[in-house]
């Protein structure tokens, strides 16, 4: 088990190093002078020189990369070109709505998707199963912002049940906070629920065809006990894996969802940075979100230990 954990930690370090290198070298992969593009069409030569100096573009590539990694190690993600504030500070100010939105979505999605997938598999071919499959095809096809606007038009504009846009912090009261998160979470969670449900169903169907499930049924266990205790536990690894992989969907989706619902989170920060061509912010956000994604998947891989004794014992 220790060997497995050490191996996974080691490969995580390598992947993060590659991510850092890719995120850094994007600036140099693109054709033309990045400073000129960041400065925009109406920039003077002086502006471009200033951005050159700010990004340290005049030094050799490896010197720049070394300096960048060194400041990363000190928790410094650079300085925003537009506001002149540290990127870490800007991200810190915007983190609460993003964390609220993604965590809410994550928890609710798993609570909905896993039971849905298990039930669909237990009654394969039934109406619920067909419904779940149709829903998952739709969930993959309707982009998150289109669905978000359909929700807004229905529940906010027509029915006037929920706020159209905006965010309340947790300190303004739990109910207000939650009310502003319902539609964004539903919009963001749909494709995630579709993904997890589909994988749970497929994985359960695989396991339900195994001999040990038939044995469990034959010895007279209640159907729920077979389903949860025997089948779900053995079907868990692909499900947990897809929950981790799907976090990429949540991150990409959060940027769009925050734009639609005007949530002042990291996604809005990114979109504003695009409009102002504030590259250090985009670089910092890309790096942080990728790190979160890598760490979530590390946690997923380590959780295999809980489900699979073969990993635990070797």
């Amino acid at each position: 088990m220790i060997g497995y954990i050490v191996r996974r930690l080691f490969s995580t370090v390598i992947v993060m190093a590659v991510v850092a290198f890719v995120v850094f070298s994007l600036l140099y992969l693109t054709p033309g002078d990045p400073a000129a593009i960041i400065a925009g069409d109406i920039a003077t030569d002086e502006d471009i020189r200033r951005i050159h100096a700010r990004l340290g573009l005049d030094d050799p590539f490896l010197v720049q990369f070394g300096r960048w990694v060194w400041s990363l190690a000190h928790g410094d993600l650079g300085t925003s070109i537009f506001t002149n504030l540290p990127v870490t500070q800007l991200i810190g100010q915007r983190i609460e709505p993003t964390v609220s939105l993604t965590l809410c979505t994550l928890v609710v999605s798993i609570l909905v998707a896993v039971p849905l997938g298990v039930t669909a598999a237990a009654k394969a071919g039934g109406w619920l199963d067909r419904g779940v499959m149709a829903f998952s095809v739709l969930g993959f096809s309707v982009p998150v912002f289109v669905f978000a606007y359909i929700l807004i038009l229905t529940f906010s504009v027509e029915l006037d049940w929920l706020p159209v846009q905006g965010y309340r912090t947790f300190h303004d009261g739990v109910w207000q906070w939650l009310r502003h998160l319902i539609l964004p979470s539903v919009a963001l969670g749909t494709v995630y629920v579709a993904l997890i449900t589909r994988m749970t169903r497929a994985s359960m169907l695989d396991v339900l065809a195994q001999d040990y499930v038939r044995t469990a049924e034959a010895k007279g266990l209640a159907p729920e006990q077979v389903l949860i205790g025997h089948a779900l536990k053995n079907a868990a690894i692909p499900v947990v894996t897809i929950i981790g992989v799907g976090v990429a969907l949540l991150i990409s989706g959060a940027i769009v969802t925050e734009t639609v619902f005007a949530l002042p989170g990291i996604g809005r920060l990114t979109v504003d940075a695009i409009l102002r061509r504030d590259y250090p912010i985009i670089q910092g956000v890309t790096l942080i979100f990728s790190a979160v994604y890598v760490l979530v998947n590390l946690a997923v891989d380590l959780s295999y230990v809980l489900f699979d004794p073969r990993i635990r014992l070797t």
Partner: protein, 296 residues
């Protein structure tokens, strides 16, 4: 994938290739795939025939008739500059289809090349796959955003940015297939018979990759259409002077409460097109992997 493609009954092999026979059977078994195909052909026809679809210049500005709701004259209404939304949506189909097809073609070809090489050259494998793992750890929309922030907005750059984000997944698939195929008895037999490597790749490995690659390409196409719309929607995609579904929705963003149709029509078109692509992909996957077909 599996060896059945190679050991198909000789009678069938005479008339049609077994892969295509399976595609044909899949369309019979899965009418939804057929529906997907029909919708896609319709969309393509609309995109090609855009000037003859009762449209006017999608960029023509008429301040006098701003924000008119849908009517007999303006089927999808007009936007904040008085432009005809119907014409813009029809022309917007071109962007989605071009980006979807171009990204699917480029990333499958690029992924195929890299996957074949890494699957066969052990020394490259470790290095290339670590790079691919790293690339895959950057959420694809973010990678595309980062690339678009550093280049001028154009459809070509959108295609390149999304392709770079999609390639690693294709490489992964191809590499895993190559690793299985290179151990197959018929490949070993070919090596023993002194067949050269390029010939083994073309005659024995490639034919078994084509089918799963096509399926993957379909999914890449659908996902690329969504990514393009997302990029345009947040202002990092297709330039505003070209009407695309994402652009039209971006312009409707602040008007959602008074002019929901600005978002609704392009949104429905986009969802329908992606749905059609996905249905086609599901049908093809079922055709190629009957074991998976019963469950997914």
């Amino acid at each position: 994938m599996n060896a059945t493609t190679v050991v198909a009954p000789p009678i069938a092999a005479k008339s049609v290739s077994p892969t295509w026979r399976r595609f044909r059977d899949a369309f019979r078994r899965h009418p939804t795939a057929l529906i997907g195909g029909v919708i896609l052909i319709l969309m393509a026809a609309i995109a090609v025939l855009a000037p003859w679809m009762g449209t006017i210049d999608p960029q023509a500005v008429f301040p006098a008739r701003r924000l008119k709701p849908p009517s007999a004259e303006f089927w999808f209404g007009t936007d904040m500059l008085g432009r005809d939304v119907y014409s813009r949506v029809v022309y917007g189909a071109r962007v989605s289809l071009i980006v979807g097809l171009a990204v699917a073609a480029l990333s499958t070809l690029l992924g195929l090349a890299i996957g074949l090489v890494t699957g066969y050259v052990r020394r490259l494998d470790a290095v290339v796959m670590r790079v691919m793992d790293g690339l895959m750890s950057i959420p694809s929309v973010l990678l595309a955003i980062a690339l678009m922030a550093l280049t001028k907005a154009s459809i070509g750059n959108v295609i390149i940015a999304i392709t770079l984000a999609e390639v690693p997944r294709v490489v992964r698939l191809i590499r895993s297939l190559v690793l299985i195929l290179r151990e197959q008895p018929y490949v070993e037999a070919a090596i023993a018979a002194g067949t050269t490597l390029p010939r083994i790749l073309v005659r024995h490995v490639l034919p078994n990759i084509v089918a799963p690659l096509l399926v993957q390409g379909t999914y890449v196409c659908g996902s690329a259409m969504i990514t393009e719309a997302i990029l345009s929607f947040i202002g990092a995609g297709t330039p505003p002077n070209i009407p695309s579904w994402g652009n039209i929705m971006a312009e409707g963003r602040s008007l959602i409460q008074i002019a929901g149709y600005l978002i609704l029509y392009p949104g429905i078109c986009l969802s329908l097109t992606v749905l059609a692509v996905n249905l086609l992909g599901d049908g093809m996957r079922d055709a190629l992997d009957p074991r998976l077909a019963r469950r997914m």
